[in-house]
Chain length 173, copies 3
Amino acid sequence: MRGRLALIVGGARSGKSRRAEALALDWGGEPVYLATAEPFDDEMRERVAQHRADRQGRGWVTVEEPLDLPAALAREATAGRTVLVECLTTWVGNLMVHDRPVEPEIARLLAGLDQGLAADLVLVANEVGLGIVPENRMARAFRDHAGRLHQELAARAGRVELVVAGIPMTVKG
Amino acid sequence: MRGRLALIVGGARSGKSRRAEALALDWGGEPVYLATAEPFDDEMRERVAQHRADRQGRGWVTVEEPLDLPAALAREATAGRTVLVECLTTWVGNLMVHDRPVEPEIARLLAGLDQGLAADLVLVANEVGLGIVPENRMARAFRDHAGRLHQELAARAGRVELVVAGIPMTVKG
Amino acid sequence: MRGRLALIVGGARSGKSRRAEALALDWGGEPVYLATAEPFDDEMRERVAQHRADRQGRGWVTVEEPLDLPAALAREATAGRTVLVECLTTWVGNLMVHDRPVEPEIARLLAGLDQGLAADLVLVANEVGLGIVPENRMARAFRDHAGRLHQELAARAGRVELVVAGIPMTVKG
């Protein structure tokens, strides 16, 4: 790792994205927003376009990559940039939906981080493991993959935060 | 805001209510318990009556308002009182069940807080966003409304706590 | 209580078990792993056997008790040992699945702790109350039992940690 690495964890509507944006801007560097969400209907496509335009107005470049996040990071995380990835957990879900092998892709992502990226990185992750065990088998597998990925990322991050009601709590750093 | 404002967040059976009661009593002022739960069967009605009697024995006045929380706060949060609202998240659920428009009601609540209430307020909220995305559309909407409300309240509160296994963790303040 | 007591709380795949093992080894004492999981198919039996062998290689004695945890603790938590219980929440689930009365068994467990055990104890618990209210009645009852148990244990523990993405946050101690 050459650049800084932060992991911002939170639940749904916890304010984790706003916090991650604030941290990325605070770190300086050219702000790049690496979006992993895959719009699956017109309403979502419209919302995504609106968000992209809003961010552009605030100085962000937006890049979209739902599946090959390791390659997107290798390409985008160049010197002088701060790359915000929103979000890691959605990426894991996308891999599952498209029947890609999850653990090898996670290993590729971690290998890329371990090799060192020039940019500072702010990674957003959705904590999904604090409810009742889901009855759905795929939801259980998703929870397992996401939890393991978050642990690996937190071990590598210099800063880990848990966002509760919009307020970041320091977990590490 | 003239009085103090605390937001106590926690999961189911986390001990958030007991913590909120302790904080309200610690703050002093005439303790008023503003309950938003709507008993939907005889068993629950009995339980609610029992809790009300228990609190009365410990010096609390109980007021019930499942829907028009902004009006109830304007009426009850008078000088010299400490009002505990139990709980905000249930109120959001009640609005949805009764087909009331949620965001306008949240805006009314926040406007009342911003205008300033004379009493100290301790608000209890149920964190529901840290599990798997629910398959039920209404549950997803509920989670979104609740999460946004919690963020707005936390931004205004001087003290925010996350209660874990009965122990309050300071999020803010 | 004569020995030390720690409660390690976390979600699914949060790294709580690894953290609990590290704390137990850090405390010293002969490490005993008291497993409550009940293997329900061949795949799980194989996984359990593998974990047991792994732990043995790292110096642990493994004891299994899915139901009578109070008796197992009374028997195993002897002077000079550090007993890790993995996990309390699974035990509550086992009691429910086997139609045992949960609250009396919890009371027995707490009575044993209050009487004092000679060993140091590290208890692992799964936080399951931070998602949407489950529609399943048994899941709701499970969540209630678990939440109440965690509160009782945290009140008695000298150290309580919430593990997020593999990193322990101090809740108490």
